[in-house]
Structures are given as C-alpha cells and as structure tokens.
Symmetry: C2
Subunit: 330 residues, 2 copies
C-alpha cells in the first residue's frame, strides 16, 4: 500500500526546494542548458525568452525526469536533453495559454502577451516549441521522439477543448478530467516516463513512473483549480475566482451547478450573471471538499503506483512531491 | 548551363497541373494521407482542418518531394510521409501568419482567424504542426528529423522577424532576403532535399536539390511580392498593395524608398502617409523591374543547380516549375 494522504497532511514544514536539494547540481546543468537552447541573435526573441527564463517556474518536470532516471542508468548528459525539451514544451504552452486566457500576470510577473502583444506571444511560443523539438531530434531513441510528438498533439487538442468549453456549464465531470489530463497530467506523466525510459529502466519501472506522473499531475491540476477559489490572493498573484471570471469552468464550479445541495441557489446567481456571488458561493460550497477528496484519491493512486520500486531517497522524494501537491497553498 | 529565363517567358500556355499530371496518382495518395492525418474527434478541429484542406493549395511542396525522390530509389510509401509532414508544417505556418497579418481571405476563402477567431487559429496551427511532427517521428532516418526541426526553428525566427520589421522602412535588401528565405525558400529547399534524402539519393544529388529549391523558393516569394502590387486583383483575391497596407515592406517598396530615381517623391508620400499613392508609385516605379530581374537571377541559379542530374521527364518537370514561377500572373 502507498502512503496515506492524512499522514501527508502532517508534513507541513516541507518545501519543494528541500526535496529538490540533492538534485541542485544537475538542475543547474539543466538551467544552463535551457538558457543556451533559447540563445538567439534575434533581439525580440532574446528579450521574450530571457523574460520567461527569469520568471522561473518550479522546474518540476525536469525534477521528475531526474527522479525517473534514478531507477535506471542515471546519466545527466542524456537526461538533461529530455528535461530541457520537456520544460521548453511546457513553457511554449504557457505562453500560448496566456494568449487564450488573456492573462496579464503569471507568477506575479507580466506575461509575454501583456509585456509585448498577442502576436509576439504566439511566435515566441512557436519558437520555444521549435527549440524544444530540435533537442528532441537529437535524442537517439525513436520511441522517445514518438512519445514527445504524441504528447504535443494531445496537448494541442486539449487547448482547443479548453476554448470550446469556455463558459460551457453543461460539461460533465468526465469532460473536465479529460481536459486537465491533456492540459497538465499528460506532460507530467511523460516527464516521469521519459526519465526512466532514457535511462534504460525496465518496462515495468517505465510504466509505474507514467502511472505515478499521470495521477500526481491530475491531483496537481485539481489542486490548482481549488486554489484558484480558496488560495491566498497575494500568494497566487491573482484575484480569487480568476478561472471562473475568464470563463474556465473548473471542478468546484461544476460541482456547484450540478451537485451542491444548494445548487438551485447557484443556478439563480448564474442566470443573473452575479459573478462575485458565484465565486463566494463556490468558496464556501461543497465542491471544494469534493475536489479535495478527488485530488487525494489521485495522489493515493500515484503513490500506490510506486509500490515495488526500490526503497530509498529517490522513491521518498517522489512520495514527498506527491504529499507536497496535496498540501500546497499556492 | 541551365535554361535561360527569356526562353521560359515564351512557354506561356503551361499550367502547373500539366507539370503535376504524371504524379496525379501519388498526389492523390498524399491528399488522402493529409486528410487522414488531421482526422480528430474534436468538433472544432475537425471543422477548421477540413476547411483548410478544402481550401486546397498548390501542394507544390509534395510535388518537390516526389520529384526529389525520382533521383533516388523512389518509394511513395516513404515519400508520402515526408510530403504530408511538410505540407502540414506549411499549413500550420499559414494559419499563424493569417493571425499576424490579420488576413480575412486566403485563396479567395475566409481564413480560420476570420471564420472562427485568433485563438482558434492559434491552436489550429499548433494542432496541425503537432500532427506534422507526429509523422516526422515515424520516419526512420534521424537526419531527416533534424532537418525538419531546424527548419521549424528558422521559420519561427522568420515569423518574429516579420513582425519586428513591420512598417520598418530602414531595413536593407539583405534583411528582406533573409526574411523571405526563412518565410518561404527554406521549406521549399527542404522539400526538394528531403525527397532526395528519403530516397537515398547520393549526397551530391541531395545538395543539388536543396540549392535548386532554395533559389526557386526565393524567386517564388519575390514574385509573390511583385504580384501583390501588379497582379490582377480578382485573380489574387485581394486588393493591390495589401502587403504594404498591412505594414509588410517588400522588395518593390524598399526599392522605391531607397533606389528609385524619384525616391524623394516617394518619401514625401510616405511622410504624408498617402498609402494609395504609394501603391500607385510602386506599381509604376522602377522597383518592379528590379525585383523581376532579381527573381530571374534566382531562377537561373536554381536551374543551373540541376546541371549534372540525369536528363529526362523529372529534370524537365523541375525546369518547367522554375519557368512557371517566372511567368505566373497570380
């Protein structure tokens, strides 16, 4: 049996940086490589790329690649390319997402579309994606190329679905889950999987890592969607209910309209388009707990998937990351 | 020595479809594969993709792949994947270009951004590109993967350059040429090159095909830029001087401001922002002939590159396509 989430809840002093600590050397290698990979003579792309790199990010996908690699023949020179490609693809989708969501801020810093414009953001995204692809093509294993390209296809379908489902209050839970799989869980699953695959880990380990990543990724996005309602506005760097205000109907909102015991009251607010009241309703409604429970079920499934992997620091780190996701406040 | 362009000018009844005729069977295979590759359950992507496929296009990149393949071991099952991937990448860039250029019409049909919106166009482009990549990753030769990804990087840099150079009247000829290389010539060069490479043609043939494609591609774009001023508005499906009106400063316009004997008169029009008069000036100015001469020099270099290739229908077809580009009216 994997770890229980209620245990996880008690580990409340843990920070992501502590978990990442043993990998700081290799993460620096990856950071330098990221910087190098986006190097260009073009003045605009130089500025937009450097802006994005400086804005940072948790670099959680590279960490998953490194951790996946620990269960095979760990070689940072092979793994760094996988990690950089994944992070670039992730960055490219964020830049395009900010155009779609019309977001002015990300991680408290102005987005490319806000600091420059939508057109520049579109092409900065194209450029970063292309740079990521260039690195993929240098990897020797053709199976890895295929996993990358399939993931990009699925993610782009997910992006279109997100637009289509904007302001769509008739979507069911399955649709929401499929969307967040494509939006978030898939690339995290692939990060874990490719770390193991690029290190020639066994088929069984590769599969376990994928399952872990998929479930942790689902929990990560559900938690994100919860925090959008109940998180600290200052820490999030955006007002509560931003998703809803932008038309992105997430799980707590879907629960409010379909399942909450006071759903008729919510429907009235929806019909009258009283957005502030809708956000308040959801913050205090039953959907938050429902979503938390669902996230915890995913986390448990993710941790269970690690059963059978050799015990030690690397498995512990994977468990800790899962717990961190369960308890994160921003 | 290659063909002389003045001979080409006399072959005025030639049509592209006649040149393509021997390949109609294999082009049908490619068309079906294009259709299949964009097949998706997503309703929006299904509609946008099908709209794009129906809008058609000359499919000149697939033809170049097939022709390149004729100088090696021609295998349509290998070549079709290269051709479909190239055409998808080309389609993806057109969809994104229409967002940048704010174009309502392409080939007389509404663009994706006009019929849907900019966001849908951005993600339709992402999706089509990703589908193209998926096909690339199924190709066995890793050198081909690298050529593809490098081309996509260069094209995305070119797209950013195009935005940066919008309304920039201080750019020199070199900048213009570098931009149209990335915008057009590179993918045509790569189409010719990859057809030969995927058919295991000799290194020498692969190089010749690339040089042919590059030069023909440069001539193609210069001709496009000329026709934007002097072409038949009905046949082009857009008003004369559309590029200039959108801020895209092309060769005839650059010549007008820098080299025309009446350039001071043009500068006055520019200072007063008299766009209709500027378009008229360029239509009747010396820049058109200068651009035509430059296009012809590129075509000649392209045709010269074919020297040494075995004589026959395939080489003739390449020469005919070059001539067609030299004399096309729309």
């Amino acid at each position: 049996m994997g770890q229980n989430i209620s245990t996880a809840k008690r580990v409340d002093t843990m920070k992501l940086t502590d978990i990442f600590f043993p990998f700081r050397g290799d993460l620096n290698v990856i950071e330098r490589e990221l910087d190098r990979s986006l190097n260009t003579k073009d003045a605009v792309l130089k500025k937009t790329s450097s802006h994005l790199l400086k804005a940072g990010g948790k670099r959680i996908r590279p960490v998953f690649v490194l951790l996946g690699g620990r269960f095979g023949h760990y070689d940072i020179h092979e793994l760094k390319n996988v990690a950089v490609a994944l992070e670039l693809i992730h960055m490219a989708t964020l830049v395009h997402d900010d155009v779609i969501d019309d977001s002015e801020l990300r991680r408290g810093k102005p987005t490319v579309k806000a600091k420059w414009d939508n057109r520049i953001a579109m092409y900065t995204g194209d450029y970063i994606l292309a740079r990521g692809l260039m690195i993929v093509t240098e990897l020797k294993n053709p199976q890895i190329h295929q996993i990358f390209s399939k993931a990009i296809v699925e993610m782009s379908i997910g992006e279109i679905e997100q637009i289509r489902d904007f302001n769509n209050w008739n979507q069911n839970l399955r649709k929401y889950l499929r969307r967040i799989k494509r939006k978030t869980a898939l690339l995290i699953a692939v990060s874990c999987q490719l770390g193991a695959l690029a290190s020639n880990a066994s088929w069984e380990v590769v599969r376990k890592m994928y399952t872990y990543g998929y479930n942790v990724g689902m929990a990560f996005q559900i938690t994100d969607d919860i925090l959008d309602f109940v998180g600290d506005e200052k820490k999030l760097g955006k007002p509560a209910g931003s998703d809803l205000r932008q038309g992105n109907i997430t799980l707590p909102a879907l629960y409010a309209v379909n399942c909450d015991s006071n759903k008729n009251q919510f429907k009235d607010l929806l019909n009258e388009n009283k957005v502030d009241e809708m956000v308040d309703f959801i913050r205090n409604g039953e959907g938050i707990e429902y979503a938390q429970n669902l996230a915890e079920r995913y986390l448990k499934r993710g941790m269970d998937a690690l059963e059978g992997l050799p015990e030690g620091n690397d498995k512990d780190a994977l468990l800790k990351i899962a717990r961190f996701i369960g308890e994160r406040q921003f």
